[in-house]
């Protein structure tokens, strides 16, 4: 074993948690969980140097199966919590994780405004097209007509066109991974964590227990690395076409990326030129200068 591989293994061990994994056999969460640790290690980030924020769902049960400063909060609310954490300490990478149920139903407003605000955070969508933890109900990303728990006759609503929605919000980073390809996910995550603004990462994942339509096999047969096929993430039109059209083949990789758009924090005039973070600025402030106008 070479020295760098040895030290990488050691650093990977720093992320090790004693807590046993409780996901179902074949769950996509294992792959995403693994890729996240690889990406952090390959970016030379130690557990004390990252903030990982989890929504509620099967993925959120991974909050105690990894090291790092973690937060596991309420259903649908992870984006604003992560944004608040990041704005308070711009020195720390903040990664938020959420399922498709939380993100496109309960918390869809937060997703819309997170993208619109272009907060400097990474958002990883655990997309298994159903509410797994609550035992297999349909989300807005479940296919229409698919029978699910609570919709035995098939989902009556139309499937939400998630990528059309994302692209309508003028994103600055859109990527898609597949839980069966750890190397691809690692590459995407490393790029996403280093992105200037809001990085939206759609991780297609198998749910062997409840998703009997977009199965591991289904995804495996259709996914491909668009970047390896020559896709340029700077090409918006092609990115949209690849992201939104996923009927026959599913384009993965970094679909869209631009680094020339200022993130939310950079757009705040009062913070311009400041070296300190809000977290470092807690002290008593003299308010006498504001009293003059009130005399």
């Amino acid at each position: 074993m070479s020295k760098s591989r040895e030290s990488a293994a050691l650093r990977l061990a720093e992320y090790h948690s004693q807590t046993k994994c409780t996901w179902c056999d074949g769950c996509g969460d294992y792959g995403i969980w693994t890729a996240v640790r690889y990406a952090l290690v390959e970016l030379n980030l130690r557990p004390s140097q990252v903030c990982l924020c989890y929504d509620v769902g099967c993925h959120g049960n991974g909050s105690d199966k990894i090291q790092g400063y973690r937060f596991h909060g309420l259903h649908g609310r992870v984006i604003p919590f992560a944004a608040g954490a990041k704005l308070a300490n711009m020195k720390l990478p903040v990664i938020a994780f959420g399922g498709d149920g939380a993100t496109f139903s309960e918390g869809v407003g937060h997703l819309v405004h997170g993208l619109r605000s272009n907060y400097p955070i990474t958002f990883v969508l655990h997309n298994n097209a159903n509410y797994g933890l609550t035992t297999g109900q349909a989300t807005s990303l479940t296919w229409q007509d698919q029978p699910m728990n609570t919709s035995p006759n098939g989902v009556p609503e139309r499937t939400l066109a998630s990528m059309d929605l994302i692209f309508s919000l003028e994103p600055t980073f859109v990527a898609r991974g597949f839980s069966g390809d750890i190397k691809l996910m690692t590459r995407i995550l490393k790029e996403a964590i280093q992105h200037r603004g809001f990085a939206f990462v759609d991780m297609l994942q198998a749910c062997p227990t409840y998703n009997h339509f977009a199965t591991h096999k289904y995804l495996l047969e259709r996914y491909f690395d668009a970047n390896a096929n020559g896709h340029d993430p700077g090409d918006l039109q092609q990115a949209k076409a690849l992201a939104c059209g996923s009927q026959d083949r599913i384009a993965c990789g970094i679909l869209y990326q631009r680094e020339d758009i200022a993130d939310f924090y950079e757009r705040l005039d009062p913070r311009r030129g400041l070296k300190t973070t809000c977290a470092e600025e807690v002290r008593k402030y003299d308010v006498s200068e504001y009293l003059q106008e009130l005399m």
């Binding site: 400063y69 909060g73 809000c278 009130l294």
Partner: protein
């Protein structure tokens, strides 16, 4: 306390507030205590609104229902507010050729009202000035009635137009015209003010929202997130307007849930962050309240009350959300509720709220009211040395960080329930702020023993917090002198009023009145409403002949909390829930009614069992 009042009425957006602000500031600088009170509908323009200023040479913090001077900027004011004038009051109006209906003619005669029509349009067209300059003109007319120095008004107005020379000159001409205007029938009118007290001239004029904003900046708040809603918007605006000086992060969030979550994330990361909302927005924040209690994240939420339920009376005032603050959100958890009462503690309580949140690692709710948020207080300069920044068991020292274990974060054995807290990014063992029930490291743990140990740990904070919070404050009329803090142990009281929030200002003004100051009346004021301490209340109540609960809600919510905590029942209540604050004369009459049965302080004793507070089970 000598009192004079002027009320400006008209359509929302007509400039009522600017006349009010000029007169209030001018009189304050001349050495008067002023108190400003606004009423307005939930509309941008149109609709009937008012700005009332009560003036004294003592500190005045309440409004009267009837005024000495009424300035009507439109005929609706003439129709709606004539009854608001005192005997021999002065009506100033601008409506040409107005014919008073019969019942108003009678009112004018009965009350010997003096009616002045100011020909605003004529004067302004002669000066070639726009209608908005009527504000300056009428301010000058009122200024002249108050017998104040015209140069003082000019200096004040000049500050606003310092950089606009043409406009400055026009305003000065408006002042000259308004100041020298004499009504041909009534002649030169004057409203007598008592001799000024110069100490007021160096005071501040602040709204409760401004005071709270200053307190938040002072407390080290570095991020503010909010969603616009009356009556918390003025705080958001105050903070937002100063962001280039404070260098604070200010975010107008997409909803109240977002605001609360942004603030939670920012506090978790270690800054001080604030959000404010009204009750209806607080409903949306309530899941976040419980979340922070569970992950033991400090958070401060301002709940600015207005009458509900639902949209209710959006621009009016109430104390109807005490239960919401003390009991909302799911599960059992420890948190703290404070209520501000005026421009002083709206400032003082902000650093305290953040200290409590960080020392006990729990949510702190700061209640305010539309009345406090928008009232204008003559405020003694703030003591800027007094506040401390206390962050409890926050570990920042690199050596101490190194020896921490993950299991220190939620150590269930922590004696006070408060365990070590350290911030993301610290070079230390990491942990999970876990909203599921968790063990000492934040790992999910649903075992019976752990669940109980962690609930006990978190609830233990309530005990340590209760012991640390101050008891309610008691003020007592001191034999004709001004109000005294505290009360002697053997001091019998004729009457003890119990209240919280904005009622305090009115009650204390009432107790300073000529008719009550020689009586033995106490006021017990609750600032710290949850956890609720009742030892002092019980001790003072035992020495009071009669207790009265004073609240601006329908159920007497503080009274219910008191009964729940200690069994003390206060059957006599003064409750108001029509969206209006207590007015001075109104509350004075209610208190007088209760003490008139007793001839004077000397002949009463505190041992009359029949009129004592009732206690279930007869314990007393």
């Amino acid at each position: 306390m000598p009192r004079t009042s002027v009320k400006i009425v008209g359509a929302s957006g007509q400039g009522i507030n600017s006349i009010g602000a000029i007169i209030a500031k001018g009189l304050k600088r001349s050495g008067y205590g002023v108190f400003g009170y606004r009423e307005y509908p939930s509309l941008i323009k149109g609709g009937h609104a008012s700005y009332q200023i009560d003036v004294s040479n003592e500190r005045v913090r309440s409004s009267e229902t009837i005024v000495d001077v009424l300035v009507a900027l439109d005929h609706h004011g003439l129709e709606l507010n004539m009854e608001d004038l005192k005997e021999s009051g002065i009506l100033v109006h601008v409506t040409p050729g107005w014919h008073f209906p019969n019942h108003h003619q009678e009112l004018i005669e009965q009350r010997a009202l003096r009616v002045v029509h100011v020909p605003v349009s004529d004067v302004l067209s002669r000066l070639n000035a726009k209608p908005i300059r009527s504000n300056t003109l009428l301010s000058a007319f009122v200024w002249s009635m108050f017998g104040q120095d015209v140069e003082a008004l000019k200096a004040l107005v000049a500050e606003r137009f310092a950089t606009k020379k043409a406009l400055l000159e026009l305003n000065m001409r408006c002042i000259d015209e308004g100041y020298s205007l004499v009504d041909h029938r009534e002649g030169k009118l004057s409203v007598a003010l008592p001799p000024p007290d110069r100490r007021f001239s160096s005071d501040l004029l602040v709204t409760g929202s401004q005071a709270m904003g200053l307190g938040a900046i002072h407390a080290g708040v570095r991020l503010y997130a909010g969603y616009p809603i009356t009556p918390s918007s003025p705080l958001l605006e105050f903070i937002a307007d100063r962001q280039n000086e404070t260098h604070m992060v200010v975010k107008q969030a997409e909803d109240e849930i977002t605001a609360a979550q942004l603030v939670s994330g920012a506090m978790y990361m270690g800054t001080r962050a604030l959000t404010a909302t009204a009750g209806v927005g607080f409903d949306l924040m309530s899941e976040t309240l419980s979340l922070n209690a569970m992950v033991e994240n400090p958070i401060v939420l301002v709940l600015a009350q207005r009458p509900g339920p639902a949209t209710g009376l959006p621009t009016w005032t109430a104390q109807g959300n005490l239960f919401q603050a003390t009991t909302s959100s799911h599960g059992e958890f420890a948190h703290c509720v404070l209520a501000v009462s005026d421009g002083q503690d709206a400032f003082d309580l902000m650093p305290l709220a953040f200290n409590l949140a960080e020392e006990y690692q729990l949510p702190v709710i700061v209640l305010t009211e539309k009345q406090i948020a928008e009232a204008l207080y003559t405020q003694a300069p703030y003591d800027l040395d007094k506040a401390e920044i206390r962050r409890g068991r926050l570990v920042t020292d690199p050596e101490e960080l190194k020896v921490l274990n993950s299991s220190d974060r939620y150590d269930p054995l922590a004696a006070t329930g408060v365990s070590s807290r350290w911030l993301p990014g610290s070079d230390a063992a990491t942990y999970c702020a876990q909203a599921d029930e968790h063990d000492a490291t934040g790992t999910v743990d649903e075992t019976s023993g752990n669940a109980k140990a962690q609930v006990d740990k978190r609830m233990r904070k309530l005990q340590s917090l209760t012991a640390a919070l101050p008891e309610p404050r008691v003020t007592v009329t001191a034999h004709g002198k001004s109000l005294a803090d505290g009360t002697d142990e053997d001091d019998a009281l004729e009457l003890l009023l119990v209240g919280w929030g904005s009622s305090r200002s009115v009650i204390e003004d009432v107790l300073r009145s000529d008719s009550l100051r020689s009586r033995r009346i106490g006021y017990l004021h609750y600032t710290y409403l949850w956890p609720l301490r009742t030892q002092r209340l019980e001790a003072v109540a035992a020495r009071a002949k009669r207790l009265v609960l004073v609240e601006q809600n329908c159920q007497g919510q503080l009274g219910m909390l008191i009964r729940m905590q200690c069994g003390l029942e206060i059957p006599d209540t003064i409750l108001k829930y029509d969206g209006r604050p207590f007015f001075y004369d109104e509350l004075l009459a209610q208190v007088e009614e209760r003490v008139s049965a007793w001839p004077d302080a000397a002949s009463t004793s505190g041992n009359d069992e029949s009129s004592r507070a009732l206690r279930p089970g007869g314990v007393s």
